[in-house]
């Protein structure tokens, strides 16, 4: 009998614990901010468990162990003590602790690297600024050096978005017309995932981004690569793709540094082939996905601002995909 009950409970526990794992989990911590939040969560969970056991214990005591009448003095003590004094102390403590956490989550960074992230329906414009004053615009991907406190400046171009990488830190709103700040200090390398955490329109759920925490040397090399101009097409197919890219007017919205394409409306594509995903964290990055995104943009991401180019021939779509994939 006991076993039969235990086994589904065990199954549920396994599922719950498994859900705490993964690239987008606030409990699978990989950053200072997330550690504080996870500590707070576990502390609160433990406290809540103690309080729950106490309340249930009292209920059992009052109804089973001593079901008789209790003195008015005891009842009054319990009501005022447990209903007013205790919660006031606990909640005040938690609030103070929470408020004290906030400046810590926004603590000034090392100042070596500033990353600006602008939320737009439904993608992320990312700009890296290094201490030497050089900037480079990227999109839909965040890479960070491990162990370094990086200042992230958050803005929005249209509606309120929220920036959240659960494994690294808490979430902060991106408010049009304001710059909000967040300090990210990753504690271990790995691949994580961030997402928009404030409903921002019909494709809100399709606004995510991969996050990679790298060794400082690898990160520096990657950032240097991002500064480089786009690789010129090297095969007949990618050359055809590059020509189509210009002819179809893609460059009026997208920039590919090193070519005539200098649009600022959509994501910079200079090194798109090297990103971990397409369409703001929703498609794998391969030629098929490029072709699908270009032809069925509005199906892949409903309400997207980019017009779909479904009228292009399959071979043209593939050539464009080959070209974009070659932009490593």
């Amino acid at each position: 009998m006991a076993l039969r009950i235990a086994s589904p409970t065990g199954a549920v526990l396994v599922v719950l614990v498994a859900a705490c794992d993964g690239p987008q989990s606030a409990l699978d911590v990989a950053g200072d901010g997330a550690t504080r939040i996870a500590d707070l969560f576990w502390g609160m969970a433990a406290g809540a468990a103690v309080i729950w056991i106490g309340v249930v214990g009292l209920a059992v005591y009052a109804t089973r162990v001593r079901p008789g009448e209790h003195s008015g003095r005891t009842a009054k003590l319990l009501l005022i003590g447990g209903g007013v004094v205790f919660p006031t102390i606990v909640l005040t403590g938690l609030l103070s602790y929470g408020l004290l956490l906030i400046p810590e989550l926004r603590e000034p960074s090392d100042g070596r690297l500033i990353v600006s992230v602008t939320g737009e329906q439904w993608w992320w414009r990312v700009r890296y600024e290094t201490a030497d004053g050089r900037t480079v615009e990227l999109a839909n991907e965040l890479r960070l050096p491990v162990g370094e406190a990086v200042e992230v400046r958050l803005e929005s171009r249209d509606v309120i978005h929220a920036f959240w990488v659960p494994s690294l830190a808490g979430k902060i709103d991106m408010v049009p017309g304001r710059v909000t700040r967040l300090s990210l200090k990753p504690t271990r390398t790995g691949e994580f995932r961030g997402a928009c955490a404030e409903y921002c329109g019909e494709s809100h759920a399709l606004m995510a981004f991969p996050v990679a925490v790298m060794e400082p040397a690898a990160f520096a090399a990657w950032l240097e690569d991002q500064h480089a101009l786009a690789a010129p097409p090297s095969t007949p197919e990618t050359e055809r793709g590059a020509r189509l890219f210009m002819a179809m007017g893609c460059g009026s919205c997208h920039a590919v540094r090193g070519t005539a394409a200098a649009g600022t409306i959509g994501p910079d594509l200079t090194h798109i082939g090297g990103r971990a995903s397409l369409g703001a964290g929703i498609l794998v990055n391969d030629v098929d996905a490029f072709a699908r995104w270009i032809a069925e943009t509005d199906h892949v991401k409903p309400g997207v601002r980019m017009p779909a180019f479904g009228m292009l021939a399959e071979s043209d779509l593939r050539a464009l995909g080959q070209y974009l994939e070659s932009l490593q």
């Binding site: 179809m248 009026s252 409306i265 017009p307």
Partner: protein, 351 residues
């Protein structure tokens, strides 16, 4: 008791009349011959019903700003689509139509009996049981208003001035298909500014062919153009596109930059609007030939097309949805500015 009996008699009478009518129709006795025309009473009743219906239904028509002078495209269409039945200042009604019931009226004495909204309503909706068709493109009220404006003026026109409007001026091209287009677009293919008739000379052949195909297949909407390309086969459409693409170095597609406007040269990135020239030229590098040249195009035509795009009422080649997306983000002011800037850009060194 008495009332009940009266009702019964009336009901029986109605049933008897209905049955007699049914028998007559079944027996093939219905008077459908056009030769005899209508009985006077039928004729009166039908006309009365039509006039009342038009008067009442046109109350809901919103009259646009005063009907202007530009009449060429309406006149050209009148010659193609209307004169066949109604005649025109240049010709009587053909013999054939004078044997129809009802006979399509000579419009000169009739037009003054309708106000602008009523003319609009009749042209837009047509009239049942009279062979008067509805306007082929329900989304193009602008064309119907142009037609109403022309009809208002038509009774004053003599044959010569009518023909000048309807069939154009100057030499007629040899090719009869091209000659048909030249009536409105001009033998030089330069169209008419102020008449919303676009210049075609020097336009990209791919674009022209795509537009003609779209009209022919009903994917681009115009009561005038859909009728104009009706019956032309694919080879003819291709020939027309090539003909106009090859015309006049003074036409479209020159490399003069559009004049001024920010929207044309740099777009409005904050609104998600890219620069017009990135797709429509002039620019360095390859350009999709299915995208039209705009430098030198007439401003009123461009503004109309942008508004149609913005309202989602402009079809076209398979590339048209791109423009619908972009135009949907434009303000009225930006539409005017973009249109004017391409038109003006073309005037530098143009005619």
């Amino acid at each position: 008791m008495r009332a009940g009996r009266v009702a019964l008699v009336i009901a029986l009478f109605c049933i008897a009349v209905g049955a007699a009518g049914a028998v007559a129709v079944l027996a093939g006795l219905a008077p459908v011959s056009a030769r005899a025309g209508h009985w006077a009473v039928t004729d009166w009743l039908l006309h009365f019903a039509m006039r009342r219906a038009v008067e009442v239904r046109s109350l809901a028509v919103e009259t646009p700003p005063p009907l202007g002078d530009p009449m060429r495209r309406a006149a050209g269409h009148f010659e193609t689509g209307c004169a066949t039945c109604h005649g025109s200042p240049a010709r009587q009604r053909p013999e054939v139509v004078r044997h129809m019931t009802p006979v399509p009226p000579d419009l000169t004495p009739r037009i003054p009996t309708w106000d602008d909204a009523e003319l609009f309503w009749i042209v837009r909706h047509g009239v049942k049981f009279t062979a008067m068709p509805a306007w082929p493109a329900p989304l193009r009220d602008d064309e119907v208003w142009a037609m109403a404006a022309f009809l208002r003026r038509m009774p004053e026109l003599d044959a010569e001035s009518y023909l000048r409007l309807a069939t154009g001026e100057g030499p007629r091209p040899q090719d009869p298909v091209v000659a048909g287009c030249a009536r409105c677009h001009g033998a030089d293919g330069m169209g008419h500014p102020g008449e919303e008739i676009p210049a075609l000379a020097g336009q990209s052949a791919d674009y022209l062919y795509g537009a003609l195909r779209a009209y022919a297949e009903g994917r681009r909407h115009s009561g005038i153009m859909q009728v104009a390309v009706d019956g032309l086969d694919d080879a003819a459409l291709r020939r027309l596109a090539d003909h106009y693409a090859g015309l006049a170095p003074a036409g479209l597609g020159r490399e003069t930059p559009p004049d001024g406007a920010e929207i044309a040269l740099r777009g409005a990135p904050a609104q998600g609007v890219p620069a017009c020239i990135q797709c429509h030229g002039p620019k360095q590098g390859p350009r999709n030939p299915a995208y039209p040249h705009l430098v030198g195009q007439h401003a009123d035509y461009l503004a109309r097309q942008l508004r149609l795009f913005r309202n989602g009422e402009r079809g076209g080649s398979p590339f048209a949805p791109i423009m619908r997306t972009i135009a949907g983000r434009l303000t009225d002011k930006q539409i005017e500015e973009a249109a004017a800037s391409f038109a003006n850009g073309g005037n530098e060194g143009g005619p």
